[in-house]
Symmetry: D2
Subunit: 339 residues, 4 copies
């Protein structure tokens, strides 16, 4: 299995062991540096496959009190958007007549980036990477070798992508593990462009009386950076504005921690920042790519883990049910922890 992908950041060395070991001609739709997936050729469910009935039963046995935690933010006009994205919702009233006893009916009309706004589930169609294929062409390739060309289809994305849409993700009813980095560092929030290290992870786990091997196959692993306190301040929160105003990026994990999560075969990775991964002025290896491309591990972005951290929760039943929006690259989601 490939650990290090070709990096795309200008100025960084191109780390591409497999691409060296593997001649150019091998990068076909069937076989390339990060495909086929361990979940089988043409699999589209990725690490959600780890959420088996047995895993579910074990997770359902975790709660002791039935207390629930909302792990996401509500969707609203004022929330931070990644760049300039419309979020428009208008409630309409219908009332044919207005005599006492008559019904009054409300519906709402919405415009926006439905799968990539606020607390969101990032599906495997969200990001890929350009690769030179055996025939010399350059293709965007996603998880399991699906190409941009086939995914966009003849409708060029109208109605959604034709592969790796979020509807392929199995429901996450699984064990959740919180790794409270801000708590370990004893700060309310990590600094803007701070990259969480494995030493931080080990320290945080130890503080929570867990070890590296406490994180297991199919778990939903959630990182508390304390960054959610900036949610009400979009220009600071959102790393799409790095370098403007007070924005210097956001904290998150990097390749080191991502590779450990891959080793542990986790089902999902989440965090309370825009991108889960560290973002700052200096580009780093893409954690999105490390998790998505070779391993089909989806992301959960823009969480709010303050309450969970405050209550010292470490493991819990995690519920994450992305909407089955056909061909979407992500989904709104209401992630819940039950203790």
């Amino acid at each position: 299995m490939l650990r290090t992908l070709p990096t795309f950041s200008a100025g960084l060395p191109l780390l591409c062991a497999l691409a060296v070991a593997q001649p150019l001609g091998a990068q076909t739709r069937e076989r390339g540096p990060w495909w086929p997936s361990v979940h089988g050729p043409r699999d589209q469910a990725g690490a959600s496959n780890y959420v088996t009935p047995a895993k579910i039963l074990a997770a359902l046995a975790l709660p002791k009190t039935g207390q629930t935690y909302e792990l996401g933010h509500p969707y609203e006009t004022s929330m931070p958007q990644y760049g300039s994205r419309p979020y428009f919702m208008n409630v309409l009233t219908r009332a044919a007549t207005r005599a006492p006893g008559d019904p009054v009916i409300h519906t709402e009309y919405f415009t926006g980036y439905i799968g990539q706004m606020g607390t969101q589930f990032d599906a495997l169609a969200h990001q890929g990477r350009y690769v030179r294929m055996a025939d010399g062409s350059v293709e965007g390739v996603f998880y399991n070798g699906f190409t941009d060309t086939e995914m966009m289809g003849t409708a060029n994305g109208l109605g959604g992508v034709t592969a790796l849409g979020v509807e392929h993700m199995k429901p996450f009813i699984t064990r959740g593990v919180l790794i409270d980095i801000a708590g370990f560092k004893q700060v309310p929030t990590l600094p803007p462009a701070y990259e969480v290290t494995m030493a931080d992870v080990r320290g945080a786990l130890a503080r929570q009386r867990l070890t590296e091997t406490s994180v297991g196959q199919g778990d939903a692993v959630l990182f508390n950076y304390g960054w959610a306190v900036n949610w009400a301040n979009p220009s600071k929160y959102n790393d799409s504005f790095i370098g403007t105003g007070e924005n210097q990026g956001s904290p998150g994990i990097g390749a080191e921690v991502a590779n450990w999560l891959i080793e542990r075969k986790v089902g999902l990775v989440g965090g309370d920042s825009c991108c889960v991964e560290v973002r700052g002025p200096v580009p780093k290896e893409s954690v999105h790519h490390l998790l998505f491309l070779g391993h089909g591990i989806p992301l959960l972005e823009n969480l709010d883990l303050a309450e969970l951290a405050r209550d010292g929760a470490s493991e819990f039943l995690f519920l994450g049910l992305p909407e089955r929006i056909k061909g979407a690259t992500g989904s709104p989601i209401r992630p819940i922890a039950v203790r």
Copy 2:
């Protein structure tokens, strides 16, 4: 507590015992025929309040195998819409450069009736009823006395309603009960405008080795009409086209069954038709109003219960997590049963 609301269907007798017993002047914001709610004055969570930690713990103990069932349909362009409603989604590609190693990023832009499309969770802001108030004005009033005027606010619904939005609903992690009416009737699907009776409910429960009192406080009660087989045929499925083409309405419960569900203090009512309630050429008393107005019981529409019925499921862990879209009248949802 009011059981029978003033009906609004032309030609039906006005059943409004309490409104008679209660002089006109009493219908203020604080007090009227169906408010304040049993859940407390100005409560906005309705019957989701029944889903207590104890109820959650009990529900989590139900599954024996960990097998999951999808109870909804995917969202897609071809799905039946209630009337003429846009559903537009286009996946966009961003790629600043296209050299090998560069990222390719997809997002999707969406336009539609976000809270009232496909498999949907109907919140308490969705429907109200006009009432003559103490000051002589006619007001649309919703659950717990919230008025249309205050809900729409000075922005007239832009950004959502200011009360009873779906974000107030607590997560449904509760006991689910399937009542398989089509199975009891031994038909693949009920006839178009068929009203399910209490005799049907009793028969179906008996066939499933349950009784009327097997349904309890906070349960999610789901009715299988077998109607989901028409999903691929929007003009037949969708009752907004009653009287056109082959459309003669859709099956569902009526006031008789709704009043029993209210007595049982259920948390949620769902079904595999557009409206859960019977719809046909002859208008009947509104089940939406019976459940919403006095009791705050939300609805789950356009389900697909075929698999659950086929496997003979009667009770199960039900997961229903409406998105917290601020001020929305409903939400897309991915309801799941776990056995």
Copy 3:
């Protein structure tokens, strides 16, 4: 004919001579302080009625060189918006196959405030004023007595208003007159909240060798404030941000000049600011209301008159063809001057 309308600005004296002379009971749908219109009861075309065939023929005779001037700004994402309004446009590509000889087809999907963005034609459905009617109710009333209730209809504005929509406006093929206030004042741009006076108008006309009576029935009268230089700076340009940042309002005419325009029976009034009328920290009598309500004179906002002023144009053929968008309150427009 009513000249002074009841003002709505807090702290200003209520000037409402006619409302005093006219008892409350007279304010019915048929008759009130500013209706019926001089253009006839229930007329919906307002001052566009002044653009008669004879007026058109006379205007077509004005040009001597055939030189055209663009009087508006292009529509684009970066343009100033009045408040927070989405402007989203995405060009889609369709190409079933990509063999040499095959077609490639582009279309564009748009979301926005189609009638109220950028260079815009304000129709008579755009603004009205609340009035206490004979039956004691308070109604929004527009030009010629059309009420908000009837205009919004049972669909509550879905699909457009049912009266006074921009589609009722006759095409403006008429004489245009530029009144160059900035030129007269010898400034590149007027100060933010400057109210143009009749003395300014007379001075500007004299400088252009015109008099007050040079402005006549059905003319399109365009005021150059020099304000278009701020177009590239939305936070300064747009008066919806008065009091924030560097924004102190925008220049324009007030009631004094508006009443003169009404006397001259002009067909249309335009200017190179957001609102044509003066906007600043101190609310003034609404020029929109003076022109719309009693006289049906539409507005043309966010013009760019720099070139026309630079070339010393005073009168010209004016072409203004608002789109016939059924039920819209305004329209995008490409106003042109021909000399």
Copy 4:
């Protein structure tokens, strides 16, 4: 100048004289079968360049009575759409307070295919054709050699195309010529897939006391097929449904007439059908491509010429002012004739 383009319709012979005469290597961005344009390399205004000040002055002299004709349909929900395209418009009301004297403000929110709906002006960015370029790649190429890749840019069409957008079109204030084919044929409407021939054109012109040379440089040439009578019947009108229901295509011109129009150096071609050109079960050479690619002649679709034809108008002042929507492939338009 190229007259016959490579055809793309399956089963038709590939007519590509120039492509044969010109070796593959010549098809660069600078030079290919249909570029550079006669209007100069990298010109983006196409045949609107023919509308010179002299042409404008001559056209303004045509009207004798000042009578105006609306040549388009209003935009509304019920109008025929080409395929499944949303058209959504909702008028919103804003009213901070509702005391007598307070303002009530309406705006409208719109979603749709802004440049490609109803009566529309088709700009040169709307259609191109795939070509094998000198470097072996296959590129979509448009008027004057602009490629799909450069037009879509790194934003992939978000915010509009970067070349050939409708904003480059000069205003059409020009001589209009009606060619009344239905009148000549003495039928209310031409048959569905009828291709108008040069014999028809000559016959129609003769009936109108004109000849082939009466049509000249920069003219707006409008064909009356009588097809607008089907406007209220979208399933019949709109050729995107060919072969379904009663739809058998729509009438229009073919390559023969298009080539004559090109010879006459017309400025614009319009007609009262979806596509101006003939559409039916049998694919024919694309008139869109003939007019757009080599000659930059835009199209005006979905006109209503019934009144003009009824009054026996042959030449007139034509006003066509497409909105300057940056990067759009077309525009709504309100075309007007003045006699």
